[in-house]
Amino acid sequence: MVVLQNIHKYYEVGANKLHVLKGLDMTIEQGELVSIMGSSGSGKSTLLNILGILDDYDSGTYLLNNTPMKQLSQTKAAYYRNQFIGFVFQSFNLLSFKNAMENVALPLYYQKVPRKQRNKIALEYLDRVGLKEWAEHSPNEMSGGQRQRVAIARALISKPKVILADEPTGALDTKTSEEVMEIFKEVNREEGITVIIVTHENDVAKQTQRIIKLKDGNIIS
C-alpha cells in the first residue's frame, strides 16, 4: 500500500542544506496498523507530510496504492489526497464556522457530491463515532475527544486507503485517548483501512501492530 524507497529530503536553511530524511526505505501493507515514533527533529513530521502528499521529496520513490507520487501538480496532489488519504491532526483542525455534520461532509464537497447526499452520508459517519446527536453543534461546543471523533469521521468519509494521524491523542486525556484509539483499531479491523499513527506516546504505539522508529532521519527499527 505504502512503499518508500531511498527517500531523501533536504531543507534549505539560509545557505546550508539540512538533510532531514537520509534515504528511508519502508513498506506498509494494506490493512496494517502502524505507529511511527521518534523524538522531535527525527524527521517524523517531514515523513508524514511526504506520506500525505503535502510536501515533496528530493529523491527516491514513493508509491501509494501502486501509484508513484512525485512532482505532482497541486491539482493532482489535491485529487490524490482527497481519494487516498484521510488526515487526523493533533489539534483536530475543524472549521469553527461549520457544524459537525458540515465538517464531516467537507471532503465530499471536493468530490462534488450534492449537498443533501453528502450531509446524509456525514450523518452516518457521525453515527459511527457516536456523535449523531451532535451533528448540528459547532466544534466550539464540543470536548476535545468529541472533536477528534468528528475529525476521524471526516477522515473516513472519503473511504480513504490510508489514514494518517499526527499525534491524534496529543491533546486528549487518557480516557478519551483510549476511545479514539479504539475507533482507529475498529476501522482498521473491520474495513481493512491502513492506519499510520505518528506519536511519541509509548501507550499509543504499543497498541499498534508495528512500530517504526525514526532517529536523525534514519529508520532504526
Binding site: 503535502l54 489535491a78 489526497r81 481519494q83 488526515f87 483542525n93 449537498r115
Partner: protein
C-alpha cells in the same frame, strides 16, 4: 461555481467582520455614487444648455458690414447691401444650401396699435422657410405661407406677449387687424417658441410679417438685411457658410481676404464647441470616478489579503482535505466580487435615486434654470458601471486569491 456552500461561507465571513467589510465597501460605493451623480448632473447641465438652443442646430446667419480692404479701385469702409438678386444667386450657385430665408426687420421706434392699446414690439419680415430655422409651435392659426409672399398679403403672426398686450383674454386675435407704423395687418397666427429665459421673453414680443409685404409696405425696396440658411442633410454648415461668403464677395466686389465685410454666426460650430465642452466634462467625471473606484478596489484587495492571512489555517485544512487551487481561488475571488458588486450596486441605486429625486422635485415645482435641466442617468452608463464593478471585483481578488492558492498546508497546519 455558484453553490450554496460558497455563498454561506462568504456570508459568514462578511458577517463576522461587519465593520471592516462596510468600511471597505464604502470606497467602492462612493466611487460609483460619484460617477452616477457627476455624469447625471453633467447630462442635466448639457440638456439645459442644449435645450437653450432655440434655433435649428445647423443654421447659419449672415449679415453685411463695412469693407476693410481696398479692392478693384474701391475704397475700404464701403457698406455692403444685400438685395433679392443675392438671394437668387445663392440659390443658383450653392446647391448644398437647403433653406435660404432672407430677413428684414423694422427699424426705428414705432408702436403697434390696436384700438386704444399700443406697445412696441420687434417686427421681422420673413419667408415661410424661416419656420424651419427657428422651431416654433403655433398656438393658433398658421405661419407665413407661399401665397402670402406671392400676393404680398398684409398679414401678421404674433407672439403670445403681443396677444396679451393688444387683446383681451376672451378675444380671438385671428382675423383682427393691428396697425404697424400706421399700416394695418391682419393677424393670422399666434406662435410660441421653445427657448428659455430672456430668449423666450423676446420671442413672445415678436411679430412676423411676410417678407414681400414688409419691403413693400415700409419702402425697403429690394434690400435684404440678413440671411438665415440651413445646409442640405449631410452637409456641414461651415461648407455653405464659406461658399456663400465667397459668392457674395465676388458679387459685391469685396476683397477675398476681407474678413470684416460680412458677419456670420454658425450655430453648428457653436453647438460643436458646446458639445466638446460636455464631452470634456463627462471625461473628467469618468476620470474622477474611476480614480475613486480604483482606490476602493485597492481597499478591497487589501482587506482580502488580510482575510486570506487570517484564513491561512482554514485554507490549509481545505487543501489537506482535497481542495484544488482553483476552488480556493474561486472562493476568494467570488467573495471579492460579492463585496464590490454589492457596494457598487448600492452606490448605483443611491446615485440614481438622488438624480431621480432631484429631477422629480425640479419637475414638480417647475424649476426653470437657464443652464440646468433635470439630471439624467444614462442606462448604458449604469449597465457598464455594473459590468466594470464585477470585473474590478475579480481584479481586486486576484492577488489575494493567488496568495491563498499558494498557502502551503504543511506550514498552515503546523501546531503553534
Amino acid at each position: 461555481m455558484f453553490d450554496l456552500d460558497k455563498w454561506s461561507e462568504i456570508l459568514s465571513t462578511i458577517r463576522k467582520h461587519k465593520l471592516r467589510t462596510a468600511l471597505t465597501a464604502f470606497g467602492v460605493f462612493w466611487g460609483i455614487f460619484m460617477l452616477i451623480v457627476l455624469l447625471g448632473s453633467g447630462k442635466g447641465f448639457e440638456n439645459g444648455v442644449v435645450n437653450g438652443f432655440d434655433i435649428a442646430r445647423n443654421a447659419v446667419f449672415l449679415w453685411s458690414q463695412r469693407t476693410s480692404e481696398p479692392y478693384m479701385g474701391l475704397k475700404p469702409g464701403r457698406f455692403i447691401r444685400f438685395t433679392t438678386d443675392d438671394e437668387k444667386a445663392i440659390r443658383e450657385n450653392v446647391p448644398e444650401v437647403d433653406v435660404v430665408a432672407p430677413r428684414n426687420s423694422l427699424e426705428g421706434t414705432f408702436s403697434v396699435v390696436r384700438g386704444t392699446k399700443n406697445a412696441s414690439f420687434q417686427v421681422f419680415g420673413d419667408y415661410p422657410d424661416f419656420f424651419r430655422v427657428k422651431p416654433m409651435s403655433m398656438v393658433a392659426g398658421r405661419f407665413i405661407n407661399d401665397i402670402d409672399i406671392k400676393e404680398r398679403r398684409k398679414v401678421a403672426i404674433i407672439g403670445t406677449e403681443v396677444q396679451k398686450t393688444l387683446f383681451k383674454d376672451d378675444e380671438n386675435p385671428i382675423g383682427e387687424y393691428i396697425k404697424i407704423k400706421g399700416i394695418a395687418f391682419k393677424v393670422v397666427g399666434i406662435f410660441k417658441t421653445a427657448g428659455r429665459g430672456e430668449d423666450i421673453r423676446q420671442d413672445a414680443q415678436t411679430i412676423f410679417l411676410p417678407h414681400a409685404a414688409m419691403i413693400q409696405a415700409f419702402n425697403q425696396g429690394n434690400r435684404i438685411y440678413w440671411f438665415a440658411f440651413t445646409p442640405k442633410e449631410g452637409v456641414p454648415a461651415k461648407v455653405i457658410e464659406d461658399k456663400i461668403k465667397v459668392l457674395l464677395a465676388q458679387r459685391h466686389k469685396v476683397a477675398p481676404n476681407d474678413l470684416k465685410a460680412f458677419g456670420s454666426a454658425n450655430v453648428e460650430e457653436e453647438f460643436k464647441r458646446v458639445q466638446g465642452l460636455f464631452l470634456g466634462i463627462a471625461g473628467f467625471s469618468w476620470l474622477v470616478s474611476i480614480g475613486t473606484i480604483i482606490a476602493g478596489i485597492v481597499g478591497v484587495s487589501n482587506i482580502m489579503l488580510i482575510i486570506v492571512k487570517e484564513r491561512t489555517k482554514e485554507i490549509g485544512i481545505r487543501k489537506a482535505l482535497g481542495a484544488t487551487p482553483f476552488s480556493i481561488i474561486s472562493l476568494i475571488i467570488q467573495e471579492s466580487i460579492v463585496i464590490t458588486s454589492f457596494a457598487g450596486y448600492i452606490g448605483l441605486l443611491c446615485g440614481i435615486g438622488l438624480m431621480e429625486f432631484i429631477g422629480y422635485m425640479m419637475r414638480k415645482y417647475e424649476v426653470q434654470m437657464d443652464f440646468f435641466a433635470p439630471p439624467e442617468v444614462n442606462l448604458t452608463v449604469a449597465v457598464s458601471a455594473v459590468i466594470f464593478l464585477v470585473f474590478t471585483g475579480a481584479l481586486a481578488g486576484l492577488v489575494p486569491a493567488a496568495k491563498a492558492a499558494s498557502v502551503n498546508p504543511v506550514v498552515a497546519l503546523k501546531d503553534e
